[in-house]
């Protein structure tokens, strides 16, 4: 446990030594803030038009969960931005170690391979959590000006966390396959895009194929979380992806020993 922490601490600090952390943070904060603002604007317009219609017909508008709608769309957007940013968090995890030869230090230190994998994963996860924490600003605004239902928001965060960790685990595995971090990032992004597009292909497919394809769609499983529904099947989907990524990374390290 201590070893995992020592490794995670070093990797986490490395993010902030290179420009990567600042670039990713800046882009994320800017884009998430921009779209939060956009969703607010949409809401304000809708409220205005409904108020007008109410004045004309004399009927009160249907009750509508405005903060809930904003939160849901905002989280959806966050999950979409993450498709582009998460590969940048994982791209260097192992590829840089391989390129610099420091992997030899890690694999001959008195620590297990699993500790190495978990240390790296924790570092990436910690940085992802930092990204999520910045959305606290938008949430604070939401809570300050309205009374949103906290359940769906907490479920949304849980969903985002699980989804992000799953993506990170896959990205970490891909970074063990190459010495070039750009290549790792591009392959990770391509893989995520494929998982994302599966959803689109699924729409045109037959019933049974559709069921399988949309089950594989990585973003599809997030929807219920964002609606405030905690369903075991989606939690299990993400947990199994996380475990799969960690397992593949572990096996990949082992094969690295044989090949090098």
């Amino acid at each position: 446990m201590k070893n995992i922490f020592v490794l995670a601490e070093r990797d986490f600090k490395t993010y902030f030594v290179s420009p990567i952390a600042y670039v990713v943070l800046t882009i994320f904060v800017f884009l998430s803030g921009l779209f939060f603002n956009f969703f607010l604007g949409v809401m304000v317009q809708q409220v205005a038009s409904q108020a007008m219609r109410a004045a004309q017909t004399g009927q009160l508008p249907e009750p509508f969960d405005m903060p809930g709608w904003i939160a849901q769309n905002f989280f959806n957007w966050v999950s979409f931005i993450m498709l582009f940013l998460l590969p940048m968090i994982t791209m260097a995890l192992f590829s840089e170690e391989k390129k610099r030869g420091t992997i030899e230090l890690l694999l001959t230190a008195p620590i297990t391979d699993l500790q190495v994998v978990l240390g790296k994963f924790c570092a990436a996860a910690a940085f992802y959590v930092v990204l999520l924490v910045t959305t606290g600003v938008e949430m604070a605004a939401l809570y300050f000006y309205s009374k949103p239902a906290s359940g769906p928001i907490l479920a949304g965060y849980l969903g985002l966390l699980l989804y992000g960790l799953a993506v990170l685990a896959i990205g970490m595995f891909i970074s063990t396959l190459t010495e070039n971090q750009i290549v790792a990032a591009v392959i990770t992004f391509g893989t995520l895009l494929m998982f994302w597009l599966i959803d689109v292909f699924a729409r045109g497919a037959g019933e049974s194929v559709k069921a399988v394809l949309s089950y594989l769609s990585i973003l599809d499983h997030l929807n219920e979380f964002l609606m405030g529904v905690l369903s075991t099947s989606h939690v299990i989907f993400y947990l199994s992806l996380i475990l799969l990524g960690i397992f593949l990374t572990y096996r990949s390290l082992d094969s690295l020993r044989w090949r090098s």
């Binding site: 030594v17 610099r100 030869g101 420091t102 030899e104 230090l105 001959t108 044989w258």
Partner: protein, 320 residues
């Protein structure tokens, strides 16, 4: 301290190490000598547990590398061929990180890091970022890293590569100072290094051990084996076959060609003086003997001789 038995490493297309066995006693400095690609680095990587062997058993301090890798790794300080440095870190932070990984207690970490920095003389650059250091300093940071937590076994892959002569001298003194309490295995392709620092030498080539001895014995063993130059006025092909047929001749080749007056380079078997027979043969065949002199072989020549099998069809020792 280290026992390697019948170590084999096979890749899909080639065998990198082929049945290597040797022992290293406690407190000994063992030198691995061989050309690039001989299997030095692979052997060291297997001992450190970086890489699994295809066959054979390796024990360090009684622990099997394959069965108890963590116990073995706790006892080994390893400097890979390329020092494994996180170049964006400061020297001090890097050594603290490695110290923590190696299980140095947090109470003793500061003292331990300072001890190794003193030892390799890098205390003055401790706050510098590693990427800004010269190659010599980087190499020393790599050595410092291996010394952390005072492991009883040190595996150093080309520890003096990239250093200037003064630093090479310092590192050799450092390694010599480690003997006694530490068991050191170092690899090199520089001969004087082996002669100056090692108690015993293993010469390795194409994944096989070619010779094992003390540097002094290796030299003595070859002292009798002379290299002889003769210049003969006669048909070169006939001379070659006549000389080759002489008892005690290991190898003959033409050194310089000049019409019928050719210089031949002859290597004799260990401990045999073939000069009398050689002169008699040449004269009896009616050729002109223009010059004949012998040279003793240096360790450098032995090294070249022992490791370039393709040029020497029937080498003395390498067949074994």
């Amino acid at each position: 301290m280290i026992s390697v038995e019948n170590l084999t490493k096979r890749y899909a297309t080639k065998t990198a190490i082929d049945g290597v066995s040797f022992q290293v006693e406690k407190g000994e400095i063992l030198g691995f000598l061989g050309p690039n690609g001989a299997g030095k680095t692979t052997t060291m990587r297997i001992i450190t547990g970086y890489m699994p062997a295809s066959g054979g058993t390796i024990k360090v301090d009684g622990f099997d590398v394959a069965d108890q890798p963590l116990e073995v790794r706790r006892r080994i300080g390893y400097l890979p061929e390329n020092p494994p440095l996180y170049t964006e870190m400061k020297v001090l932070n890097y050594l603290q990180f490695v110290g923590k990984l190696k299980g140095v207690s947090s109470a003793g970490l500061r003292d331990e890091v300072h001890r190794v920095m003193e030892k390799v003389n890098i205390t003055d650059v401790q706050t510098r970022i590693i990427s800004k250091l010269s190659k010599g300093y980087k190499q020393r940071v790599g050595i410092a890293q291996a010394l952390l937590n005072d492991p009883p076994v040190l595996i150093l892959d080309e520890p003096t590569i990239g250093l200037d002569p003064k630093q090479i001298h310092e590192v050799r003194d450092l390694v010599k100072g480690l003997a006694g309490n530490h068991t050191v295995v170092l690899s090199t392709h520089i001969l004087p290094e082996v002669e100056q620092t090692c108690h015993r030498v293993i010469i390795i080539d194409h994944g096989k051990i070619v010779a094992v001895d003390t540097p002094q014995n290796l030299r003595a063993q070859i002292q009798g084996a002379a290299r002889i130059f003769v210049e003969v006025d006669g048909p070169p092909a006939d001379v070659l076959s006549a000389v080759k047929a002489l008892p005690g001749v290991a190898n003959v080749q033409i050194a310089t060609e000049d019409g019928t007056k050719n210089r031949f380079q002859i290597e004799s078997e260990t401990g045999r003086d073939i000069r009398t027979d050689l002169a008699r043969t040449v004269v009896n065949r009616g050729w002109g003997l223009l010059e004949l002199h012998s040279e003793n072989m240096s360790l450098e020549d032995i090294f070249i001789k022992l490791t370039t099998a393709e040029e020497i069809p029937a080498p003395v020792e390498s067949a074994s």
